[in-house]
Symmetry: C2
Subunit: 291 residues, 2 copies
């Protein structure tokens, strides 16, 4: 296989993810030129100054006019506006990919806004991140040995899929492909539901009369369990909106699971409680030992 190489990568939204892709592809010599576009001049200037990108474009049209690949790496909420702008470009040849954590909503936007470009659109989701944000946290090794899921549209061409797959492989990632509905179900369960549950638990503690004492005595187990409740509420409300139906389904299933445990405690059926805890501990420890 030839070494992956593209003439111009345009990153719209040079934050943690966009900046890390840019930094890695430049380090790999996999790109002729990286152009950054964004709303925040401060982040762009930082990224340019630190060599994450080669050029800052004044606006999206200038940024993408000579692009080979356009990476949309903005918060979910801004995607619609960005796609409407991209649609207007006279350049009809670039491949478009994104990095959002929900994929059904992205597909719908593409089909509504730019069906004529669907062959060149490869929705993607890198399973990597950090608690830090912005280009200051960009790291060329962020995606090393991490999973990236691609959810091609019905009309996405094999050529476009192959290009984006090789882009991510050049970033050190392992690429999987699946439908966007399967993707959204999986990530509802392994990521979105845990966030909702963690927020709900901390908020419930915080509402109690003895909240101050609770936090005084919270220790290690609480620290790990609640870490994701420190995540950006805006981002997670957007994810709830974008992936509402699978998340609703999982919240409902989880309420049933807790109801079951409640009944078992009520009836003091500790053997059945133990079977649930055992199954979880085995599954969790198997998972951890395979990481």
């Amino acid at each position: 296989m030839d070494k992956f190489y593209i003439d111009q990568l345009t990153v719209i939204g040079v934050g943690l993810i966009g900046g890390s892709i840019a930094a890695r592809l430049k380090r790999e010599g996999a790109v002729g030129r990286v152009v950054g576009v964004g709303r925040g001049l401060k982040n762009l200037t930082y990224a340019h100054h630190h060599g994450l990108i080669d050029e800052v474009a004044m606006d999206i049209q200038h940024g993408i006019e000579s692009a080979s690949v356009v990476v949309v790496a903005v918060p979910v909420k801004q995607v619609e506006t960005i796609l409407k702008e991209i649609k207007l470009s006279p350049n009809a040849e670039f491949v478009i990919t994104d990095v959002g954590s929900t994929k059904g909503d992205f597909r719908k936007l593409v089909e509504r806004i730019m069906p004529e470009r669907a062959g060149f659109v490869v929705p993607g989701h890198p399973i990597a991140g950090s608690e830090q944000i912005g280009p200051q946290a960009a790291d060329p090794n962020l995606f090393e040995a991490k999973n990236v899921v691609l959810c091609p549209l019905d009309r996405t061409t094999d050529t476009a899929i192959d290009l984006v797959q090789r882009l991510w492989q050049a970033c050190g990632a392992s690429v999987s492909k699946m439908s966007e509905s399967k993707h959204d179900k999986i990530f509802s369960a392994v990521s979105h539901l845990p966030h909702v549950v963690s927020y709900a638990l901390v908020e419930m503690m915080n509402r109690r009369d003895d909240a101050e004492e609770l936090f005084d005595f919270a220790a290690g187990g609480f620290r790990d369990f609640s870490r994701i409740a420190g995540s950006s509420p805006e981002m997670w409300v957007d994810i709830c909106r974008a992936n509402r139906s699978p998340i609703l389904h999982d919240v409902e299933s989880f309420i049933l699971s807790l109801e079951k445990i409640r009944e078992l405690l009520q009836s003091e059926d500790y053997e059945a409680v133990q079977r649930i805890f055992d199954a979880a501990a085995v599954a969790r420890n198997n998972w951890a030992s395979n990481q």
Copy 2:
């Protein structure tokens, strides 16, 4: 205040907690002699060989006959048997403390088994631990700057309370006192409920048809959230049994919290969802910055 010093500490159950107390008090020169008692000869031999304890006693009666303080550091389930044995000692002078994570059940056992010794019993709960177990993991610094909660009985003497408080301070811990019912409510919320929830969530994932894929794509958020689901199921079933009523109450409250979020997602009231997430994120980040 005079330096804390006792002639003989007897540790029943020389595991992580018991071994760490022994190691610390010996390092502090706060104890004349540490005697270890336990069911597992392997752990006792290890502890003796590595200087955590000075002597291994053949059985509880030999171990406690000259004790100044007896620390009961065995799994919750064995406490009853141990207390019945301690009761029989002709030595009526030693102070007894324990390290269990639930305190209402311990109080009931003491009142039932050895009401005549209640003046010398100081129930305790060090809020410290490790994922590792056994004397191999013992660490004289385990309790440094950690909280220890004492829940004296109505009849516990001030002298006994003072002695155990100074013992824990010599271990580097910060000591609080509260009723056992308050203790059990607090720890139900900050520790027991999160464990139940984490077990329930991992077990639910594991039951799904797509479990294998879920675990394949689970990442950082899941890692932290589910860590406590890898804890000993036996120990946590015992805690559910010992602290059943507060845990049941908290599971029920938490189901209501999730029902609320379910309704808000159903009606697409994302502003209200955001208020919940905001409150949690602020509380969690405040907590973390005070640690």
